[in-house]
């Protein structure tokens, strides 16, 4: 388990070192902080996606959720001049609600996560575009967002707040997932929902909660992104971001079959993807290859992981050969203890016909 994260971390270091050697600008403080910011932005919702993937589901609706929540958020602040704490609350509640609806459809009505969230992808984007009649929402002049803007896009001693937020959220979710009862249930549900239900776990609630958390984190991300770009174009804001999140989670060791993955892995996966994109620009690789590089690294990463696991299994097989020997003797020993001679009849239930 931990080995996977170690490998990913190592890969990250190696890639960074090589890129830094080619172009030292890569390791400049500014660039590192820029990357930290982006890792923060993309990491927050990747965490939610990771939880959903651990339940064996998937959330394809994140990008569209950003668009819908984003236009509402900006509209609340600019058009309706709502105080920012209320607007923030509204967006978070919005995210939780959308996640809740999806969770409901998936757990109660037993629909497939892929379909439910695909429909979410279509519907939320459509709603965002209809609501704005396809016009971009942005902070034109004023300081409508006030303090919130500073919080969301500010930094503490240079470290972007988005990154700090990611770390805090990762710690909280890390405890939740890896230490708490809920986390245990989440893995159990992801691995075998039926057995979990037969153990008295309210699997529906456990799964729905993952979607709700993902929705809530999408709300947080929306706010971060809105203040990163200062505007929301309903037709393109967040387009394809769910794929980033899925890619990050998968790179980080989550299996789409459910029941596998870790918070650290997801964060590292996000970091790797962002480093790759940055590297493409810094090394002057044609921009068009950006996606191709990403795709290739995911492919190789997953492939390598498969190979390593296969090797581990093969090693275990060999070790097994060594191990069975003592087992046999053990059984023989035990057998030896039982007196052979006693021909005591194994008793059939005497009182039957």
């Amino acid at each position: 388990m931990i080995k996977k994260e170690l490998g990913l971390g190592l890969l990250l270091v190696v890639i960074s070192a090589i890129t830094g050697a080619i172009n030292p600008a890569f390791l400049s403080l500014v660039n590192l902080l820029n990357m930290a910011n982006l890792i923060g932005l993309f990491g927050v919702f990747a965490l939610g996606e990771g939880l959903v993937i651990i339940t064996g589901g998937i959330d394809l609706s994140l990008g569209s959720m950003f668009a819908l929540l984003g236009v509402v958020f900006v509209d609340l602040l600019t058009t309706y001049q709502v105080p920012w704490p209320i607007a923030l609350l509204a967006v978070l509640l919005g995210g939780l609600t959308l996640g809740g609806i999806q969770g409901f459809l998936i757990t109660r009505l037993k629909m497939q996560p892929f379909i439910v969230t695909l429909c979410g992808l279509l519907i939320y984007r459509g709603a965002a575009r209809y609501y704005t009649t396809d016009s971009t929402r942005g902070f034109g002049y004023g300081d409508e967002a006030g303090a919130l803007s500073d919080i969301a896009s500010g930094n503490v001693a240079g470290v972007p707040n988005s990154f700090i937020l990611l770390i805090i959220l990762a710690l909280i979710l890390g405890v939740l997932l890896h230490r708490s009862v809920y986390g245990r249930w989440l893995y159990a549900v992801g691995k075998n929902e039926e057995a979990a239900r037969f153990s008295g776990i309210s699997t529906n609630i456990v799964i729905a909660t993952a979607y709700i958390i993902s929705g809530g984190l999408a709300g947080v991300s929306t706010v971060l992104f809105v203040f990163y770009t200062n505007s929301v174009s309903p037709s393109s804001f967040g387009n394809f971001y769910e794929l980033y999140a899925i890619a990050a989670a998968v790179l980080g060791g989550c299996s789409l079959r459910g029941g596998e993955g870790s918070i650290l892995g997801i964060v590292l996966g996000t970091a790797l993807l962002q480093v790759l994109q940055n590297l493409v620009n810094i090394l002057g690789i044609p921009n068009s290859l950006n996606f191709a590089v990403m795709g290739t690294v995911i492919l190789i990463g997953v492939l390598a992981d498969h190979q390593l696991q296969a090797r581990r299994r093969r090693k275990l097989a060999l070790a097994g050969l060594a191990r069975t020997a003592p087992r046999s003797t053990l059984v023989q020993g035990q057998q030896g203890a039982s007196p052979r001679g006693a021909d005591a009849l194994p008793v059939r239930t005497g009182d039957q016909a």
Binding site: R129, T136, Y141, T229, N230, F237, F240, N281
Partner: protein
């Protein structure tokens, strides 16, 4: 409403630009209440999507279509089919090989040259510049880049690269941040599409390089205009989408009434682009606000 003749303006993507054009349509609508004037926003920004819109409009029996052609010169055949049944003009993005009646819009190469001149003005001693655009396979992107290249040819202004972002704002901003890191001596950044200039403005400010790294932009995003007025942005080259909308509608109506005298020689009715700099930004902003007020 079925009896009224319908005129439609078909956009290439969903963007604010077209909201302003829509205002021009509204003005035309007011002047010609006996027509039904619509703005049709193409959905997925793909050529196939636009073709579908055209087919459906023909089925609805519209009288005139003004279209910003996606994938420009290649949709000839479809456009000819449309031209045979309705009054067809192009706007914003042309299809010169087709049988469209005329083109109403910007000369993007000229707009690029205009921006190039602004860049030269901002960098009298030359320097490195970088351009940002959504995708390079859009004609206006290519033409603007071409115009800028023409203008800066032979000077000490050096174009390091054109960065694309697939119309993803976050990606665009990350690109800008990366350029500022990679080229510490970059002198000027220019965003070719409307959402990019404000992002450059943000990125440059956040990097603490406001004033040091100059900005020349396109289009009239609110924050672009704010940047122009506070001096962070040198100037921005604006088109007049309002005119696109208004002229499209009124000229189609003229044609429907048998008047083709508005069509200039060569079939291109160029609505000139304007340079907005600190000197005229206040007027322009006021004007725009007026326009956008419902």
């Amino acid at each position: 409403a079925q009896q009224k003749k319908t005129i439609a303006l078909v956009t290439n993507v969903a963007a604010d630009f077209w909201t302003i054009a829509g205002r021009g349509l509204e003005k035309a609508q007011k002047e010609h209440p006996d027509y039904n004037i619509e703005l049709i926003v193409t959905n997925d920004g793909t050529a196939a999507g636009q073709r579908r819109e055209l087919d459906d409009l023909l089925v609805r029996g519209v009288a005139g279509i003004s279209i910003s052609v996606d994938d420009a010169s290649h949709a000839t055949e479809v456009l000819n089919k449309v031209a045979a049944k309705t009054v067809l003009i192009t706007t914003d993005s042309d299809a010169p090989q087709s049988k469209r009646l005329a083109y109403i819009g910007t000369d993007n190469v000229a707009a690029g040259r205009q921006a190039g001149e602004e860049i030269k003005k901002a960098l009298p001693n030359g320097g490195k510049i970088a351009l940002f655009v959504g995708t390079m396979d859009a004609d206006n992107a290519r033409e603007r880049v071409q115009g800028i290249k023409e203008a800066i040819a032979g000077t000490k202004v050096e174009l390091v690269d054109v960065f694309t972002d697939q119309v993803d704002s976050a990606k665009a901003k990350a690109n800008m941040e990366n350029v500022l890191v990679k080229y510490p001596d970059i002198a000027l950044l220019s965003g070719l599409w409307s959402y990019e200039t404000p992002l450059i403005y943000d990125a440059v400010k956040a990097a603490g390089k406001a004033g040091k790294v100059k900005i020349v932009g396109f289009d009239e995003d609110q924050r672009t205009l704010r940047g122009v007025s506070d001096g962070t942005i040198e100037s921005t080259v604006v088109q007049q989408p309002y005119e696109f909308g208004y002229l499209s509608a009124t000229n189609i109506i003229k044609t429907l009434n048998g008047d083709k005298s508005w069509i200039p020689e060569g079939g291109k009715l160029i609505v000139p682009t304007k340079v907005i700099s600190k000197s005229n930004v206040a007027d322009f902003t006021a004007n725009l606000k007026d326009l956008l007020k419902k």
